[in-house]
């Protein structure tokens, strides 16, 4: 046991000497947490852009059109900016906004008189979401205008004509007639609209369980396992360093047990991983404000599963013919694992097929368990089974790794 501890202490000292490298490992979850929280807050993603409006009509009707984008959810998405048409065309031409809406002169009168008029929308081709929202909203507004013209077209025309020549306002009789007509129309339409005869009931069935805490919370657990993979990959190169320094040869000659040496390395890796876990969970709890219902279990799980991943990667690194080949082989293993295993994109964002494969990868499986510890959905029996499974894999990989290490040393 003393040799195991001495081996671990030596590795930890060596890691501690390269503080910038250590900080960069610890920095991955912090960086992802800070970045995602800063970019998307703690809620869901809302696209944001600028809508340029060249309102050449400057009427009440045209202002109703542009004001539609300043209310409610659309108001959160769009910053509406009034511009001259030429300026707007120049700006949308260089991608300065999501779209340019041109409301032609006479649009308001055309609406009231049911005459033809055309809105022009120039969209930014480098954006997909916001221009589509503007186009859809405008087309709904125009459809609404069409029905208004059908239902109260005559009344609108009357208003558009304005008061008789020489009069400052409409005659009382006209106002009274209009009121009576609108009242009768209201009575007639009440049967359809109060309450609405047709109602749409929408429900969304989540195909994948959602994560509380929004976009940042969806990314952070995967980022933690990305750090785990980087730490594991960074630490397996130590075997090559030990060989080039002659440590392994001396180890074999002195009769010390290779298993104890490997256990020391695994212990050092486990301690670094525990540090990453603590920093990551602190970020999750206080920065991203996501639920961390079983912090201790989560830290222990990340340490155990991370150490197992370290041993798995060690087998790959020890199988290589040179240090460079080890670097390439481990990269070749780590990156696809990272992609599929939910570290670059959460499983929720992946197509179902890829996500299913990803959950079967060692890190993907460990990540799924880790998330269950965070949100408290893991049951005692499944936690025990997961720990037992990870321990079993760790034992088997440890045995395989120490066998390989004995040959690697000489």
């Amino acid at each position: 046991m003393r040799f195991v501890l001495a081996s671990a202490r030596k590795d930890l000292r060596r890691i501690g000497r390269d503080r910038i490298a250590l900080l960069s490992w610890l920095g991955i979850p912090v960086f992802i947490g800070v970045l995602m929280t800063a970019l998307f807050g703690r809620g869901s993603v809302t696209p944001q852009g600028r809508l340029l409006v060249a309102d050449e009509d400057a009427s009440l009707v045209s202002s109703l059109v542009s004001n539609a984008f300043t209310q409610g959810q659309l108001g959160q998405m769009f910053q509406v900016e009034k511009v001259k048409q030429e300026d707007g065309r120049r700006r949308i031409g260089r991608g300065d906004a999501s779209a340019l809406l041109i409301i032609p002169k006479g649009f308001g009168q055309a609406f009231l008189k049911s005459e033809p008029a055309r809105l022009q929308l120039l969209t930014n081709p480098s954006q997909q979401i916001l221009p589509a929202i503007v186009a859809e909203t405008l087309s709904i507004l125009l459809e609404g205008a069409f029905y208004l013209q059908l239902v109260v077209g005559d009344e609108l025309k009357l208003i558009a004509q304005g008061p008789p020549v020489g009069a400052g306002s409409f005659p009382d009789k006209t106002i009274a007639d209009l009121s009576v007509r609108l009242n009768r129309l209201g009575e007639k339409l009440g049967a359809y609209l109060d309450p609405p005869l047709l109602e749409l009931e929408t429900s969304v069935v989540e195909e994948k369980p959602g994560i509380r805490g929004g976009f940042a919370a969806a990314f952070l657990p995967g980022a933690l396992f990305m750090a785990v993979l980087f730490v594991a990959q960074g630490m397996v190169f130590d075997f090559w360093k030990e060989r080039s320094h002659g440590t392994l040869r001396r180890l074999v000659v002195t009769g010390s047990r290779v298993e104890a040496f490997l256990a020391g390395k695994a212990m050092a890796a486990g301690m670094v991983l525990a540090m990453v876990a603590v920093v990551g969970l602190a970020c999750a709890r206080w920065l991203v404000q996501m639920p961390v219902s079983q912090p201790l279990v989560a830290v222990v799980w990340m340490t155990l599963s991370g150490t197992t991943l370290f041993l798995l990667l060690a087998i790959v690194a020890l199988a290589a013919s040179t240090e460079r080949a080890a670097s390439m082989l481990t990269s070749f293993v780590v990156l696809p694992l990272m992609m599929l295993g939910g570290s670059l994109f959460p499983f929720e964002a992946m197509p179902e097929g890829l996500a299913r494969i990803g959950r079967l990868t060692p890190n993907g499986w460990a990540l799924a368990q880790f998330r269950a510890h965070l949100d408290g959905s893991a049951e005692s029996a499944s936690v025990a089974a997961a720990f037992a499974g990870a321990l079993l894999v760790a034992t088997v990989t440890f045995a395989a790794c120490s066998r390989r290490l004995r040959r690697f040393a000489v």
């Binding site: 960069s24 960086f31 970019l39 997909q128 609209l193 994109f345």
Partner: protein
């Protein structure tokens, strides 16, 4: 650098895998506004003409698949149920609920909600419009409304010269290529400098007759060559495997990417010059690349980020490169549109190169 197999891995293999992976996933970030999606509609036999009318309205936005039983309906991602006796109930002025179920949430679900509401409430509006004429609405009345010309219309065109909006891989490949060029030059490009210094190679070179400037220039050119090979490979792969169209100004695209690679090479050398060990270079290089890629718009459509991030994108080389690519590829603009981008990236490359030459560490 090309003797190192990692450089081959990062230059030729990983980018292709990432193109596929990121293109597949980020393609789902935005709801499809161009491809028609399907919807399953359970239409009972007694739904009547209003049921047909609603299906016709849905057909303006979706490929409608009429089904007759729940099991068949369950196979669809979007499922709409028109209730039994639909027309009869509506004509009897009894409120009717139309149930829509969608598998999977997100922006796509919100977009469906808008389209569905539009279809349902325009049917209601048709009823209201026919009611003003008096009498119960008929299929002929609704058809007559449909035939009426719309006085107010909307004309939507894409700004710039290119009329086809790039989606899917055409969005993902340029972003991934810009990120990987930086990643390779910040890791492989920078780490070799640290290794050469730690192995004493740079010290031996310092004692030779080569000037400091020549040596820095030579090393920079080697890294630039690595970046250019990667860019050329990524563009060929992007065109052949992922159908990326690089816009009408291909030479300008090549110039932009060359200048970007020159800047990334110079920045990578700065990193390798000031950091001491390989682990430091790789750790900081990976973090810096990811930060610049995220904030510069390589990871996701920049429109999903807050306005302050969109404004910040031009603080990073990735932001300048992506903006220039959008102008040339998405807008189809000419070379003049990217003159500021070229000027800024060239100036930044010269400054970074001067800094490396001025404070080059031989040991």
């Amino acid at each position: 650098m090309f003797r190192a197999r990692e450089a081959w891995l990062w230059t030729f293999i990983m980018p292709v895998i990432f193109f596929y992976f990121i293109g597949t996933i980020t393609g789902g970030f935005a709801p499809s506004t161009t491809a028609r999606e399907s919807i399953g509609v359970l239409t009972p036999p007694d739904a009547g003409f209003l049921g047909d009318h609603l299906v016709a309205r849905l057909g303006r936005h979706y490929d409608v698949v009429r089904v007759t039983d729940a099991a068949e309906l369950a196979r669809h991602r979007r499922r709409l149920v028109i209730p039994a006796g639909f027309t009869a109930q509506v004509l009897a002025a009894k409120p009717v609920k139309i149930a829509f179920t969608r598998t999977g949430g997100g922006l796509g679900a919100e977009y469906d909600q808008i389209r569905l509401q539009r279809a349902v409430y325009s049917v209601l509006a048709d009823l209201v419009a026919t009611a003003t004429e008096g009498g119960a609405p008929t299929a002929q009345d609704l058809a007559a409304i449909d035939r009426k010309p719309r006085a107010l219309t909307l004309e939507v065109t894409a700004a710039g010269r290119r009329q086809r909006i790039p989606t899917g891989f055409e969005q993902a490949v340029p972003g991934t290529m810009v990120m990987f060029t930086l990643l390779v030059l910040f890791t492989s490009g920078a780490v070799t400098l640290a290794i050469e210094r730690n192995q004493g190679i740079l010290r031996r070179m310092a004692s030779s007759a080569i000037s400091r400037g020549s040596m820095v220039l030579g090393k920079w050119m080697g890294r630039l060559a690595l970046g250019l090979v990667q860019i050329a490979f990524a563009m060929i792969t992007g065109s052949l495997l992922f159908g990326v169209h690089w816009g009408p100004s291909l030479p300008a695209v090549l110039v932009v990417l060359t200048v970007y690679a020159a800047l990334a090479a110079a920045l990578g050398m700065l990193l390798g010059n000031f950091l001491a060990t390989e682990k430091q270079v790789i750790g900081i290089g990976v973090l810096a690349t990811n930060a610049m890629a995220a904030l510069g718009g390589c990871w996701w459509p920049i429109e999903i980020t807050p306005r302050w991030v969109q404004g910040m994108a031009l603080l990073f080389p990735t932001g300048w490169a992506m903006d220039a690519m959008h102008k040339l590829v998405s807008f189809g603009l000419g070379p003049a549109a990217v003159a500021p981008h070229l000027a800024v990236m060239t100036a930044a490359a010269l400054v970074a190169g001067w800094l490396v030459a001025r404070w080059f560490r031989f040991q």
